[in-house]
């Protein structure tokens, strides 16, 4: 087991990602943030908290998207669905999708399909805490990257969150 990011590094990275999102979208007037259930929510909660502190008094539209019913591997097994909560229109908005680890790209493919049920966004971007490079199975790339790592298929990236695990770090597990 190898620690890739410790608690402090995660906090700094999320602050940076917040600034990078603002750099591209200025005041977030036409931009909404959507975390992908279940694990992307830990990143998006912190990122949105950061953005709200950077834009006091400004409305930051933040939703949560569950992609379970849009997966391409239902025949292989059923996953527990989580709650989707998008209490605003995404029609013609810039959507920033947020997840913890980008690996094969299949989750993001499903998320883009799921988004269509809520409207037609002007643009969709992807914000990722950990990018496992060279492991994509679909042509999907992130726009905002916390940390890019090189890993092999047999390794596993695990993210621990304070709210759930009482510690906050990203580790690489060998199998």
């Amino acid at each position: 087991m190898k620690t890739l990011l410790n608690e402090q590094q995660i906090e700094i990275i999320i602050k940076r990602l917040g600034h990078q999102v603002l750099e591209n979208h200025v005041d977030l007037k036409d931009t909404v943030l959507i975390g992908i259930q279940p694990r992307g929510i830990f990143v998006s909660d912190q990122l949105v908290r950061e953005l709200r502190s950077l834009l006091p008094g400004q409305q930051v539209n933040y939703g949560k998207l569950d992609i379970t019913f849009f997966r391409d591997d239902i025949a292989k097994g059923i996953h527990i669905p989580n709650h989707t909560e998008i209490p605003f229109s995404i029609e013609n908005k810039n959507v920033v999708l947020i997840d913890d680890v980008l690996y094969t790209g299949r989750t993001i493919r499903a998320a883009m399909d799921a988004l269509n049920s809520f409207g037609r966004p002007a643009k969709v971007e992807l914000c990722i805490l950990i990018d496992r490079r060279f492991s994509r199975q679909l042509p999907i790339q992130p726009d905002y990257v916390g940390r890019a790592i090189d890993s092999i298929v047999s390794q596993k990236v695990k993210v621990y969150w304070k709210e759930r695990d009482n510690r906050q770090e990203v580790v690489l597990l060998e199998h």
Partner: protein, 314 residues
Amino acid sequence: MPEMQLSVKHLLGIRDLTPQDIKIILDTAVQFKDVLQRRIKKVPSLQDITVVNLFYENSTRTRISFELAEKRLSADIINFSASASSVTKGETLLDTVNNILSMKVDMVVMRHSATGAPHFLAKHIPAAIINAGDGINEHPTQALLDAFSIREKFGTLEGKKIAIIGDIMHSRVALSNIYLLKKMGAEVMVAGPPTLIPKYLKEAFDVQVEYNLKKALQWCDVANVLRIQLERQNQVLFSSLREYSLAYGINKALLDSLDKEIVIMHPGPINRGVELDSDAADSRQSIILQQVENGVAVRMAALYLLAGGREVNN
């Protein structure tokens, strides 16, 4: 992401389900109900699945509800009703189904007037089967949607008092409801004329039996009122519909005379003026139309959960 699996490959009856199975189905249905509020009320989950709806007995609500659930899940559908098919030429159930299956069908939703028909099929064919009502045995998706509606109203089933009122003897809805509610920790009472309540019920299921309608209503949180099944009465069990209605019909005046506000449910179709008067059926206390709405979400959950993981199972 955590995976889950029902303990059954078919949904033949609530009898075969564990409390955990029931919880998984109801929890999944909550998310499908959310899908049904979206602008695009459709998900691609079952786009590689073909379902045949095999209805050997008439149905409006259940058939439409299943069909809509299948369409919302992007499944391909074949609708079959016995009256317009080769069944009238004498083809057996197994032959009919095998012929349909040879056209590569993955799931069968089936209603049949014979008790045990879907269980028989499950033994002989590889497709997943959902029982949409078999004779006087079970109607599992109705019980699941009833439970979903009660849980939605009260937040839980545990400890809730449910009175099932009317023709218990001929009702597959009653039997499925009793199985489900007992498994989930609700208190169950059956009420109706003694001739329509099977004698062994109390001992077999640990349910209360009440012959006085007002006492039953006074006791319960929810009254699930059943339809008097005129088509299944082959002997005279009560003297007339008018007499039944006088003793067991529920109207607004009766509901107002109780010292609490109970919830009224009915699986439909209602015999208005017999078991339920319009002023009660259409009152604020009635959640009958919510039941219908919830039916689609619950059936989506059942279809989705049975379709998943089939590559592993096979």
